[in-house]
Amino acid sequence: MHRTESFAQSLRKLSLELQEVDFAQRGYHAEILLTADTLRDFARLMLEAEYFLVFMSAVHMSPAIELVYQFAQFNSQSRILGRLFLDADGVVPTISDIFQGSNWHEREVKDFFGIVFQDHPNLEPLILPEGSEDLKPLLKEEDKLKSCQEVSWQPAEAEGENEAAEPSGSEKS
Amino acid sequence: METAVLYELLRMLISVVLVVAFVFINALIMGYLERKISAHIQRRPGLMEVGPHGILQLVIDGLKLIGKQLIVPKDADRTLFRAAPLLSFAPVVLPLIVIPFSPKLQVRDFDVGLIFILAISSLNVLAILMAGWGSNNKYSLFGAMRSVAQNISYEIPMLLSLLAVILMTNTFSMQGIVQAQGKIWFFLVQPVAFLIYIVASFAETNRAPFDLPEAESELTAGYHTEYSGMGFSLFMLAEYANMFVVCSIATVLFLGGWHGIPLPFGAYSGAIWFFIKAYGLMVFMIWVRWTYPRTRFDQLMNFCWKYMIPFALVNLLVTAVLVKL
């Protein structure tokens, strides 16, 4: 699905670009770099393209926290990972009005990382008890924090394997 | 003259003591049967520890319940909360007075025996309502409200089905009704009325599949959520005694009361037949309980208004016409 021309075109309109990755190595078919401005438009596009939100979460790294949105489709093999690096001001819009399922995911991220989602209907603690707003258990300590490069695939390696293994679902999309 | 009154008083006193004792014994028997039958339906041994095959378990349980503290919730209405179990207990003792276990074994035969029973047994609802309201618990209140609605609606088809039998016997006296069945038992003549009565009696006694007032998966325990110790056990006693009352009425009205093949126990054989029939029906009620899921409230009401009442009315009409002919 994500390989069709019309899908790529709609992405280009949002000035976003999809990057194919090696499924056998990473477990998802493509990744995409989002920004806080394009997130909501992208989510709307995904809903129209009949994707569902598998999960959304965050990874604490330097220089910024990375939000991860994974989308997949019910009727074809297509799994897309959206990455969003939080700006310095840390403002990120909610997509809980587009994908209602992200409501709880965003609340959970708020619990664990303290990220505030703009216009979220209810950011009360979901999993942690009330009054634990300062806990933010999944934020890394200074000495354990790694930089973005240290926890990403090394480009040369990934490219080489990308050609070798063609994702098995290509004919279906 | 005076000795006759004294004799009658003494007789009444002894009978009432016996009746109350019977309510307790009945609860023991039914508790044991319920647990044992449910166990075997579920292919497990059930009670085994106290006495041979756990036969004394219920006695021990009773002692335990007596020994327990009766906890009254903080914001409960103490008077209502305390009075409710007692009130639920009284109306199940009274009907036993007019039930003829055998031609002679009956405390008192009233001319309006059946009406007396029906009038008294609807008091039970009041007790449940008091318990539900007095507990100051939302779940209890739900249970109580359900119970009231259910009992009142199901009283209609129940009465209509009983009325069909009354039309045939022309008497409300329990003795008279049994005597009228010397040749043929009424469940053969009135199968529809019998079925309606049985279904309605499930609802009247709050037994599964109509156990909505105490639906434990929805309302934790319904109206007796907050009760402990003796308060709880009085409700249980009342439930089982209530079952016995409705099953006795069914035995008297449809299954020929004490009639049956003569047994070699002389005067007692009538009573033995009566108990066999009544307890047979109760075992059936237990069997049903451990087979079906619970109905939903609106479905219960729909069933009453859409099926039970029309059928009971038609049945009554047909009976009236046939009797007149």
């Binding site: 056998a24 990473r26 979460s57 009727n75 994908f99 | 156990d211 899921p293």
Partner: protein
């Protein structure tokens, strides 16, 4: 959580269902705003069984996290084992011998049946029938006995290892499993007669809690919940992992998306699982049950995910490695979490009795949601 004073209309009130309630199965709390017996606004309150598994994963080596995976969905722990083992294998590039994969599939499917049998009983318990759970437990015990014989435990299995499984299956296992398949097929008849055909049961679940395909998409509901809504989505077919592509099985789907459809989907899924087990037993290859793995498994820098079909839906592990043997971040996407998030929209305006039926048909395992 709404405050208890914020009641929109004077005759409405709050009903607290759980965390200790017979039909919330575990420690789920649902705060219900009620109008009589009608639910105006249900609000699940989570976290009573929270253990911060994701943080625990960051504090130990990737192989040492394996026992924890079984503690999330205790009713079907092996798919959780499977997903995690496969994730580490994918990340570290470890080959798994085919026999191990077959053993994984067989035991996972057995576990799935055990989970569905438990759900079957629990749903009927919610609906007020006591007996079916005892019957289904009878069969479930057989599965637990079979699995205990090879895994050593009955519920929280830690049987899969990175690169294989911890113990080989023997002829006795194969024999017992075949006998069980035969037995369960006969037992389906009892369930059918006692429950599926029962008019009271059908009336309780038919048309109750309708989830349509669009709702599944918006909430990310997967597994039998999505399949009940007519979406033929099953990770085993959609994105075949392990050796599932070698087996012939169907994905049962419903039409209306009501509780009855979800019930039927799970009942039919058990039969499909039996088919998979049968085929796997027939094809079971010889060979080692555990592959060669490096002494210390290093996770490369980068992220990776692995999805499996757990008993309740899609389970996705998302792991970020940093070149050491300790995961930098592990996100566990649990199916019940998304399935439960449907509840507020699903149960608005419902009767309390229907809420119990709808929640039972979602097949929730609370420790999995809380993690």
């Amino acid at each position: 959580m709404p405050e208890l004073t914020k009641i929109s209309q004077p005759h409405r009130f709050f009903l607290n269902m759980g965390p200790q309630h017979p039909s919330t199965h575990g420690v789920l709390r649902v705060l219900l705003e009620m109008d009589g017996e009608y639910i105006i606004e249900p609000q699940p309150v989570l976290g009573y069984g929270h253990r911060m598994q994701e943080k625990l994963a960051e504090c130990r080596t990737c192989t040492a996290f394996m026992p924890n995976t079984a503690r999330m969905d205790y009713a079907a722990a092996l798919p959780y084992n499977h997903g995690y083992a496969a994730l580490i294998e994918r990340m570290a590039g470890i080959e798994v011998p085919p026999r191990a994969e077959y053993i994984r599939v067989i035991t996972s499917e057995l576990n799935r049946i055990a989970s569905h049998l438990l759900w079957f009983g629990a749903l009927l318990l919610d609906l007020g029938a006591f007996t079916p759970i005892l019957y289904s437990f009878d069969d479930r015990e057989q599965i637990l006995d079979i699995l205990e014989d090879i895994t050593g435990s009955r519920l929280t299995y830690c049987y899969f290892r990175v690169g294989g499984v911890s113990k080989d299956i023997d002829d006795k296992f194969v024999e017992r499993t075949r006998a069980f398949i035969k037995r369960l097929r006969q037992r389906f008849d009892i369930f059918e007669k006692l429950v599926t055909g029962n008019v009271i049961f059908i009336n309780r679940v038919k048309g109750v809690g309708i989830i349509d395909a669009d709702m599944c998409r918006r909430y990310g509901a997967t597994g039998p919940v999505a399949r009940g809504s007519g979406i033929p989505y099953d990770v085993r077919k959609n994105q075949p992992y392990s050796v599932y592509s070698e087996f012939d099985f169907d994905i049962p789907v419903g039409e209306n998306g009501d509780s009855l459809d979800r019930y039927m989907v799970r009942m039919r899924e058990m039969e499909q699982s039996l088919r998979i087990i049968e085929q796997a037993l027939d094809k079971l290859p010889e060979g080692p049950y555990r592959g060669k793995i490096p002494k210390k498994i290093k996770l490369p820098a980068g992220d990776c995910c692995f999805s499996v079909e757990a008993a309740r839906g899609e389970l996705t592990y998302y792991l970020v490695g940093d070149g050491s043997d300790v995961p930098y971040r592990l996100k566990i996407r649990v199916p019940s979490y998304s399935n439960l998030s449907v509840l507020p929209e699903l149960c608005r305006g419902m009767l309390l009795s229907d809420l119990v039926a709808a929640m039972g048909s979602l097949d929730l395992v609370i420790p999995e949601i809380d993690r």
